[in-house]
Amino acid sequence: MLTALERVLRHRVVLVLATAGIVDVVTGDPAAHGLALVAVAVALLAEQVAERRVEPSAEARPRAGFRVTTPMAILALVYAVVTGAFARFSWPLTIAVAVPGVAAVTFAWLGTPTTTREDPGEERPSALPWVVVLLALAAWEVQALLLQPSLTTSSWAHPTLSTLMDSVLVSHVGRSISLFIWLALGGYLLER
C-alpha cells in the first residue's frame, strides 16, 4: 500500500509546477505566467488520475523525437533578431514568445506516450547532485527575493536573476541574444 508521501511524490512534477506558478503570481509577475504553469499542472494531474482508471495499453506508443537542424537554427536566429526589436513586455514580444512556448509544450504532450517502461535491469547513476544544484539556485533566488523591500519591489542590493537580467534585456542586441539562447535551450530540451 502506498504511503501518503509516496502518493505525493508520484505527482512531484504537478507539485513543482503548481508551487512555482503560485509563487510566481504571489511575487507580482503577471498572473497569466503563473496560471499557465498551474494550468499545465492541473492538466497533468487530471490525466494521471484518469490514467489510473484504465488499463494501460500493451503496446506503448513510440515517443516522437525532435532534432534541431541547421535550417531550424538559422530560422531561430532570424526569429530572435526580428522579435528582439520589439519592446520588452509588449504584446508583439509576448506573442513572439508564447507561440514557440505553446507549440513546444503541445509537442511534448502529444509526442510522449503516457506509459514509459523502465528496464528493471538497467542501472542509472543518481541525478541527485543535479537536483541539489538546482535546489541551491532556487534557495539563493528565494533569499534574494525575501530580502527585497517587498516581494513585488526589486532590489539592486539583493538582486534576483530577473533583476540582474534587466540591464541585458534593455537593448535590442541583448534581447535578441537572450531570445536565441532561450530558443536554443528549448530545442536542446526537446531533443532529450
Partner: protein, 66 residues
Amino acid sequence: MNSHDVTVIGYVLIGLAGVALEWFARRGSGRIPTFSEAVSRAARTRAGRVGVIAGWAWLGLHFFAR
C-alpha cells in the same frame, strides 16, 4: 564588498558548481550523470517532459512577456 556583490557571487558559485559537476560526470566515473543524461532521465515520462518544457516556456514569458 556589499550585499549586491555577495548575492552575485552566490549565483556565480552555484553556476561553477554546475560546471564542476558536469566536468566530474564527463570524466567517466559513471556515478554522476551528465546534465544531458539527467535531463533525459527527467523527460522519460510525459509528465517529466511536459514539466521541463513548461518550465522553459515560463522562462520566456517571465523575461519577455507582459
